[in-house]
């Protein structure tokens, strides 16, 4: 054990993101006109009763504090955060072709899989920062901690993608989760964000504890926390303790990826958190959680005999996937709030992703399934950030006028803002999985892998539930294009530069991945080779 430059180079994206976060935090406190010692603004917690009342007022009033101190201009922070995210993206893509190596004494790996995951995370972060910029500015809620927390959580996600030791996985998981808990409580407006954050925190920590107990049992069974040693122990015949560990690890991550029956927190949290944060959570947290699930299941329990055998995890994942697809889609149908609908849709998509995980159990379709999973995660990320970006633009308008989120506020959007309407329709079409978009190609690759893994009933169920999903996705499009406008207020034209940039980026990605999936598939191919043993 000694200093090794390759170790640091292996976690370069995570280092770049943490340095960015520390820079933002430090620059935040040295800005002028930050009122010291008053929790209300400096710490973000309203202390006096007056401020508490103020927090319940429409957000426009928040900046109008009695003191004449003007808040410092924090708009640079979004661009700095975006720049660091872009740097991380570049770093992960630049290393893409490098050979896979084990770093930090084998507790982490720097391989194609990790780099693709890091690239998707950094890309999601970049787009989310752009979406958040206009949103926070419009609500006068720009504070340095927001982007710093986003960067911290993204660095945790990058580490999650490459951790191959249960303890490192736990630490990275908590780095990601703790930052995301704070992000979802970020807007102090009424009861909703804090309550959502509390639910998220309790269920998230519960899941972390269950995961950790699984890790402890795995350690007991193998006297090591490395996934490699678990795999070795399995080859020598697994013990009951090890299977209990596998079940607990899977349940812990089933919470994180929002698989039914561990999905209860999702609608509340997605609804209560600010829309840009929700988009980031839906895209990036899912990527990291699924990446880790794959690492644990394939790296530790990947032996086909172990995966498919009498106690194999494949059956567990198949049941989770089936339940998640059906319940997610069914519960999405009655939703009137677009945000809640998207929350249930994210549960449904977790189900489709679990189909890919289930297909990985066998040795033969493993490569296709991993490639499909990564492609699906990337395409879902681009789509869902775009969708929540549009929601953010609508939501900030609604929040300023004090109204709630309902389908009716989307009526006639095409007349008021045709570009926004077109973008939203594109994202809905992609989420529904209709041909010229990324969503279709993603579903196709995943279901194809499921069929070649002889999981035909699961693939059929996936197709059927996707057809059921058409209803609630296309209902949004119907409202946007065919319903008459009920609310005359137009979306603000100002401050759509950054969000517009992000939406254009998302839309281009969605169409590009739908029309030319080959380019992305070849990138994913780099990642696949890691697990082909």
């Amino acid at each position: 054990m000694s200093f090794n430059a390759a170790d640091l180079q292996g976690v370069l994206p995570a280092i770049i993101l943490s340095v960015g976060a520390l820079f933002l935090l430090t620059s935040e406190v040295f800005l002028r006109n930050v009122r010291p010692a008053v929790l209300g603004h400096a710490g973000g917690i309203p202390t006096s009763p007056a401020e508490r009342v103020e927090a319940k007022l429409p957000p426009g009033a928040q900046g109008a504090s009695p003191s004449a101190v003007t808040p410092p201009d924090r708009r640079y922070q979004a661009w700095v955060a975006a720049a660091f995210a872009a740097l991380g993206l570049w770093a992960s893509l630049a290393q893409l072709g490098d050979p896979a190596i084990a770093i930090f004494n084998g507790t982490a790996a720097s391989d194609g899989f990790a780099r693709v995951v890091a690239a998707v995370v950094c890309g999601s972060l970049l787009l989310s920062c752009l979406v958040a910029f206009g949103y926070l500015e419009a609500l006068r809620a720009t504070r340095g901690e927001f982007y710093a927390l986003a960067l911290f959580s993204a660095s945790g996600m990058c580490l999650l993608g490459q951790a191959t030791d249960l303890i490192v996985i736990f630490i990275a998981l908590e780095v990601m989760s703790l930052a995301v808990y704070c992000l979802s409580a970020y807007l102090r407006r009424g009861n909703r964000p804090a309550e959502a954050a509390f639910k998220y925190f309790v269920l998230g920590s519960f899941a972390s504890a269950i995961f950790l107990y699984g890790a402890a049992l795995a350690y007991g069974a193998t006297a090591s926390t490395r996934l490699v040693d678990i795999a070795a122990a399995l080859r020598g015949g697994g013990s009951g303790l090890l299977w209990a560990a596998a079940a607990l690890l899977v349940v812990g991550f089933a919470f994180k990826v929002a698989a039914v029956p561990f999905h209860m927190w999702v609608p509340d949290v997605y609804d209560g958190a600010p829309a840009p944060v929700t988009g980031f959570m839906a895209a990036a947290v899912k990527v990291a959680a699924f990446a880790t699930l794959v690492r644990i299941l394939l790296g530790g329990f990947g032996d086909p005999v172990a995966a498919l055998g009498a106690h194999g995890w494949q059956r567990l994942v198949v049941w989770l996937a089936g339940l998640t697809m059906v319940v997610g889609n069914l519960l999405a149908i009655p939703q009137r709030s677009v945000k809640r609908m998207l929350a249930y849709s994210s549960i449904a998509h977790a189900g489709y992703l679990l189909v890919a995980v289930a297909a990985m159990a066998g040795p033969l379709p493993r490569q296709d399934a991993i490639g499909g999973l990564l492609f699906y995660l990337a395409s879902y990320g681009a789509t869902v950030i775009g969708a929540f970006g549009v929601v953010a633009i609508i939501e900030r308008k609604l929040a300023l006028s004090g109204a709630g989120d309902d389908l009716s506020s989307w009526a006639g959007l095409s007349e008021r803002h045709p570009a926004l309407a077109a973008a939203m329709s594109l994202f809905m079409v992609s989420l529904a999985g209709i041909p010229p978009t990324a969503g279709f190609m993603a579903k196709l690759t995943v279901f194809r892998a499921a069929v070649s893994a002889e999981l035909v009933p699961l693939a059929v169920l996936g197709v059927l539930t996707s057809v059921g999903g058409l209803y609630y996705y296309l209902r949004v499009v119907v409202y946007v294009y065919m319903m008459p406008t009920t609310k005359p207020d137009a979306v603000m034209g100002e401050r759509l530069v950054a969000a517009g940039l992000a939406l254009i980026g998302c839309a281009v990605l969605v169409v590009w991945m739908g029309v030319q999936p080959g380019a992305f598939a070849s990138v994913a191919q780099n990642a696949v080779a890691v697990f082909s043993r």
Partner: protein
Amino acid sequence: MVGPVHYLVLAAILFALGAAGVVIRRNAIIVLMSIEIMLNAVNLSFLAFSRFPLVPVAPMQAGIYAGQVAVFFVIAVAAAEAAVGLAIVIAVFRSRTSVHVDEFDTLKL
């Protein structure tokens, strides 16, 4: 003679108590404490497995210490988690003046 089974059973009981506390108790602070109990139960089983290895390990093998190192990290993470959790509870308390989970009903299914 107290052996690994005693510690493991105690850890399992503590973990179950913590899990039950998260599900049953209505006070947000108690829920936070229950989560801490769960994490510390895991710590106990890590240490028990480290002290009484179930599989044969060489005396100086790294695996023996992995469990003890894990405990350090879990302690640190649990502290961070407690800090964030308490901050969130304070935020909820400020908006509702209550720490009873039953009353957190603004968001409904």
